[in-house]
């Protein structure tokens, strides 16, 4: 349980907008242990999404190191980074980001095309859909589903390659309270099964359940609470 999975060392992220440089993250130092449930909170523009993007290797820091199991992700090439994203990280977005032309089953299967992990069986897709309660909607297109259902599909997709880390950016931001509850229950169970969950959220119930809360403000970790 105490094994460090992600480590951020003196991480800075700057964006250039025209002639201006905006520092989205400033000197972030963070250790994330295996099976932690971390909520990143803070006002809009505080750097929550930027931090998640860096942990998920969707972006590179301007300065500093990001280590995954001791390997510096900032030094990896596109092939290695893509492998990391495909096999070790599952992303869940506020806007679900399902491929509208593919049905639920195909959307869930999508990450397996990019993974080199051996032994994948297609039965797993149905198992995951059962886990998120959507087995009967397997061959529906995303637009035929409600927002809550789409987010559950996105969770199944994030889990299909059995990643160690789940990164969720405002996963309940577009959902009503009932659907948000369902998503929370899924996250709880996933965390209990040993997944490391890192999410940016404004949902108090998600925050309450987390065993660690990181408060970002203006690109800096202002407070950190560990339960």
């Amino acid at each position: 349980m105490n094994e460090v999975i992600i480590q951020l060392e003196n991480v800075y992220k700057a964006y250039k907008i025209g002639n201006d440089t905006i520092l989205a993250l400033k000197n972030i130092n963070l250790l994330i242990k295996k099976a932690e449930f971390i909520s990143i909170v803070g006002p809009s523009g505080s750097g929550k999404t930027t931090l998640l993007n860096l942990i998920g290797a969707l972006d590179k820091p301007t300065k500093g190191k990001i280590l995954f199991n001791g390997i510096d992700l900032t030094q990896q090439n596109d092939k290695e980074i893509s492998k990391y994203r495909a096999e070790n990280v599952g992303f869940i977005f506020q806007t679900f980001n399902l491929i509208p032309s593919l049905n639920v089953w195909e959307n869930v299967k999508l990450p397996t095309y990019f993974s080199s992990k051996k032994g994948f069986k297609e039965d797993k897709i149905m198992e995951l859909l059962e886990l998120v309660g959507l087995k009967e909607r397997a061959f529906h297109k995303p637009l035929q589903l409600s927002g809550g259902e789409q987010q559950r599909v996105a969770i199944a997709r994030a889990l299909v390659n059995d990643p160690q880390i789940l990164i969720a950016d405002e996963p309940t931001g577009n959902l009503d309270s009932k659907n948000a509850e369902i998503i929370l229950d899924i996250f709880k169970n996933l965390n209990l099964s040993g997944k490391t969950i890192i999410l940016a959220t404004h949902n108090l119930k998600l925050v309450e359940y987390s065993n660690r809360i990181i408060h970002l403000y203006d690109g800096v970790i202002k407070d950190e609470f560990v339960r």
Binding site: L58, F91, F93, N97, Y113, F114
Partner: protein, 416 residues
């Protein structure tokens, strides 16, 4: 990445934008149809001409009396080629066969006519003449007023319908003396009927409209005794093989020069090789010109895929970001978009080839020149234009694909 996965994503994207992608497919269909209609007949006619010249004779070098190249004026020779000239040419190394050609006059058959040609037995080989029936003229003169002849295909099949070998026919021969004509009744014994053969391009004499006799029989008919100096219309020489034509032609020019003949004044020399070179040269120029039009068609179809792929990529930035987030590499994004362009292109090409084939065959019913576009020419045309279309589709899909792969996933995911 699993290539089946890429294929699935690409196909699903094609299905999503049916109308827009149909326009791209239509552009490729039109490219294939227009390409095959524009280039097909050029290849067809060029092939037909080259094939006809090849089949017109056996490695022939034709020495024509005077200069018949100019259609406006005929240069009167000062020194005519004749039987004596032929005897000098016979001894040149590399001469496989040699025949004199003496146009004695013509037979009129209503609106058509047939030349009365005096030659020798070697004309069969030189002119690649095939007998439908009977035998070819011999070299020794019969010294008789009943002349053994071989009839060209049109003569026995159309003008003297029903005539057979060993039959005797009496015809009125029209002989031109300067600007006046004389009529001479001649009795001909048909010893052979020639098979049909294609008309030689650019030569007015239709090889199907001839009556061929031994040249000495004709001299006997005309009471010509001093035949060595009688001007011939042409001498046909065969080289032993196609590659030695040029060498033999040079030797002939040298011998004729030594005999005092002036090239392009007293005689004009044309070989099968020259004729093929000339035809290919003309058609290659024409082909280069048509290639400009073909390039414009190709550019339009390629631009259509460039624009559509750009729009598609722009619309799917967020999706591309999602794919990158779940593990797609830059190269996967490039190949998925390329594959999408390629699938559209191949659908267009297959439909275009199918429709192009039908349209060419329909045009054949209305335009004679399209008859030269046979199946092998259509396949050849497709084999030229299809790789060019595929290459342009790949090149023009590559840029949008490259742009898509360069966008950082974090930016693509935020794209509205």
């Amino acid at each position: 990445m699993n290539s089946l996965g890429k294929y699935k994503i690409s196909i699903s994207n094609i299905k999503r934008n049916k109308l827009r992608n149909s326009m791209v497919i239509l552009a490729f269909i039109l490219a294939v149809i227009l390409g095959s209609i524009i280039l097909g007949p050029v290849y067809g006619i060029q092939n037909y001409y080259v094939k006809t010249i090849n089949e017109a004779g056996f490695n022939v070098i034709a020495i024509f009396s005077g200069n018949i190249a100019s259609s406006n004026s005929y240069t009167l020779p000062t020194n005519f080629i004749n039987i004596s000239t032929m005897k000098y040419l016979e001894n040149i190394g590399g001469v496989y066969a040699i025949s004199p050609v003496f146009l004695a006059g013509y037979f009129s058959f209503g609106n058509s006519s047939a030349y009365f040609v005096g030659s020798n037995s070697q004309l069969k080989l030189i002119g690649s003449l095939e007998l439908y029936k009977g035998s070819f003229i011999k070299d020794n003169s019969t010294n008789s007023n009943l002349i053994n002849v071989d009839l060209g295909y049109n003569v026995w099949n159309k003008f003297l319908k029903g005539v057979d070998i060993n039959q005797t026919v009496s015809l009125s021969l029209i002989v031109q003396f300067g600007f006046s004509y004389k009529y001479l009744n001649v009795k001909l014994k048909v010893i052979g009927l020639l098979s049909e053969r294609p008309k030689i391009p650019s030569i007015n004499l239709d090889p199907n409209n001839v009556v061929i006799a031994n040249i000495f029989d004709i001299f006997y008919l005309f009471n010509i005794t001093n035949y060595n100096s009688i001007p011939l219309d042409a001498i046909f020489v065969s080289a032993s093989d196609f590659n030695s034509i040029d060498n033999l032609e040079n030797k002939i020019v040298q011998v004729l020069s030594d005999l005092g003949y002036k090239k392009n004044v007293d005689y004009m020399i044309v070989s099968q090789k020259d004729a093929i070179y000339y035809v290919n040269n003309i058609f290659n120029q024409f082909y280069r010109f048509l290639n400009i039009i073909w390039a414009a068609i190709l550019a339009i179809s390629s631009l259509s895929i460039l624009i559509v792929m750009f729009i598609t990529v722009r619309e799917r930035y967020r999706e591309i970001g999602t794919l990158r987030a779940i593990g797609a590499r830059k190269i996967d994004v490039v190949t998925m978009i390329l594959l999408e362009g390629l699938v559209l292109c191949i659908i267009g090409i297959i439909l275009g080839m199918f429709l192009g084939y039908i349209i060419i065959n329909l045009l054949k019913m209305y335009y004679t020149f399209m008859q030269t576009v046979d199946n092998s020419t259509i396949i050849y045309t497709f084999s030229i234009i299809v790789p060019e279309i595929i290459a342009s589709a790949i090149i023009f899909s590559l840029y949008p694909a490259y742009i898509a792969s360069k966008v950082p996933p974090s930016v693509a995911l935020r794209y509205e």
